[in-house]
Symmetry: C2
Subunit: 117 residues, 2 copies
C-alpha cells in the first residue's frame, strides 16, 4: 500500500530541468509570449507561489496548461502539487545565479511596455 501511494505520488511529480540544464534560448523563448509574460509578471508581483487556477487568462484551460508547461520546462518556474492544487513559483535563485539581472531587466521592460500600451 505504501508502495502504491509512493508510485501515485511519483506520477504526479512534474519534470523540471536542473539548474545547469537551463538554457538562455529556452528562457527567452518562454518569455517571448504575452500570456506567459503575463503569468511571470503575476508571479513576480505576488512574490510567492500561486495556484494555476488563480490565473484568469483569456485562453482555454488547455492553452493555459501549455503555457505553464513551457515556463516549467524552460526553467523559468517550478511547479508542484500541494494537495489538489498545482502551485507555481518563479525559479528566482536559479535564474539569478545563471543569468544575473536578466529576469529583472525583462520584467522592467514588460512594465515599460505595459505603461506604453
Amino acid at each position: 500500500m505504501a508502495t502504491v501511494t509512493a508510485a501515485a505520488a511519483g506520477s504526479r511529480e512534474l519534470a523540471h530541468p536542473a539548474r545547469t540544464e537551463i538554457r538562455l534560448e529556452g528562457v527567452l523563448h518562454a518569455l517571448s509570449d504575452p500570456m506567459r509574460m503575463h503569468i511571470v509578471r503575476d508571479l513576480s508581483a505576488a512574490a510567492t507561489e500561486l495556484a494555476c487556477s488563480s490565473f484568469e487568462l483569456p485562453v482555454s484551460k488547455s492553452t493555459t496548461t501549455h503555457h505553464f508547461r513551457v515556463l516549467r520546462e524552460s526553467g523559468v518556474i517550478r511547479q508542484a502539487y500541494r494537495g489538489t492544487a498545482k502551485m507555481s513559483g518563479l525559479r528566482l535563485d536559479d535564474l539569478e545565479e545563471l543569468f544575473p539581472g536578466l529576469l529583472a531587466a525583462v520584467l522592467e521592460a514588460a512594465e515599460r511596455q505595459a505603461a506604453r500600451d
Copy 2:
C-alpha cells in the same frame, strides 16, 4: 533617368519597425534562437555595422537571410545596402530607450552561457 535610379534605390530599401512599433515579445523571440544570438553578439563585439557576408554561420545562405530578417523585423537590428553590401547594425539607441538594460543583460547572459558550454 534620375527617377528610375530613385525607384531602383527605393526597391532596395528594407522595412523596419519604427521605435514605437518595437515589441518586447518580438525582441525576446528574435533573441531566443542561438544563430540569431550569435549574430547579435558579433554585432555587439564589433560595435559597428557589419556586412551580412562577414558572418560565417553553419547554416545555409537562405536560413542566414531569414535570421537577419527576423532580427530586423523585430527591431533588434537595422539593415541597409551600401553599394552591393547589405550592412547590419544593432539598434542600440532604440532598444536602450524602450527597454533600458535589457540588451546588456541578455548579452551578459549569453556570455555566461557560452563560458559554461
